[in-house]
Homo-oligomer: 215 residues x 2
Amino acid sequence: MDARRRSLLEATLDCVAEYGMNGASARRVAERADVTAGLIRHYFGSKDAMVSAAYGYLIGQLTSEADEAAEQGGAAPEQRLARFIVANVTAPNLSPRKVALWATFIGRVRTEPDYADIHRESYREFLVLLETLIHPLLLVLKRPADPVTCQHYAIALNALIDGLWLEGGLGHGLYDTALLPRIALSAAEGILALPANTLMQHIDAPSMSSQHVTR
Amino acid sequence: MDARRRSLLEATLDCVAEYGMNGASARRVAERADVTAGLIRHYFGSKDAMVSAAYGYLIGQLTSEADEAAEQGGAAPEQRLARFIVANVTAPNLSPRKVALWATFIGRVRTEPDYADIHRESYREFLVLLETLIHPLLLVLKRPADPVTCQHYAIALNALIDGLWLEGGLGHGLYDTALLPRIALSAAEGILALPANTLMQHIDAPSMSSQHVTR
DNA sequence: CTTACAGTTATACTTTCGTATAACAAGGAA
DNA sequence: TTCCTTGTTATACGAAAGTATAACTGTAAG
């Protein structure tokens, strides 16, 4: 039974999100998970191992949710891409908590190999997924779709998505995050040089309601 | 004389970049700055105050460098915008160290008011700067340039810049960061619906050399 | 019934943390 | 000269850190 393991991971994420890496001490995490600190050793070997495992756990949540968004719904290339983009700038993926967690962990990628491995793999996965969404779309539109072109588009789109996700999640309150899907799709159409509304027409609810950002 | 103060801030950034927030202990920072830990109290009151001051110090470096890039050179709107964008995806602003530092601090923005203040202010400044670069460009091209339009463009451009800066600084090694200026300008032209090469023509060295990413 | 093992707690140990305090050096003001 | 302020070190203290160890469950196997 690894329900305990998962509950320790969630407790770790809770502590990191709320108190930062400093505040995610073994005792505090254990208390949050309603166990004693000794269990950390039992399940993860060390506290550091638990924290990096929590990073992997978080990334898994993020990517699987985006994956699923692209899968469901119609199979038209432009619709799949639109769903994927929107899913990344909408709850539950767009959440201040998740953005804060991601940032905290990303800060350790450069100097700690465990984090670097997790990051590199998930980034590669994201880029590949984007390319496989872009490629058929270019083909349908009878545009050049060589790998290099697809990669460049994927890099730019990934940057746009990351950036908007960050902006939205940080929620500096300078604008309404309900605008993000439209801004994202419109910018993506520009980056890919698509006819206007190619992506935009697939927005779920063109209304101005419901800005469900989990805090 | 606040040379001491600055050297403590730099030492703090060094420690945070290398060991993360956990590793930036009062003793370690003091040792790096060749002083004893007591001085931290003298200059900043507490260790936490020193660390958040270091965040402000870092943000100051980043924004002032981008500011200056936009100032220098010709005054044509498209040239100013191009320079600004390129400066943000090129060394010295594009550096793995700075990205890692930024991420580490950003992770604390949501829950710690000191960080939130610094962040909000710098973000607003960045958005305003982008809008003042976009507005005259739209006017020159006889395009609609109302505030809302400018703001939406600024949000998308800021996301693109942030995202590419992040991708480049994280340096996952999946592509050459020398490509970033071209990718950035091309994507920006798309987002703003500019005629091709409006921005791209202002790239400094169209060669394929020199990828000076400070590590 | 006993054995053995995984899950879990309680506790104790060492290190490191942040910071308070007292003292010392240097320099300008009185 | 004396005095006060500022910059700085040395040191000490309590709290909290990570983790090792031993003991106490329960449950499934023999």
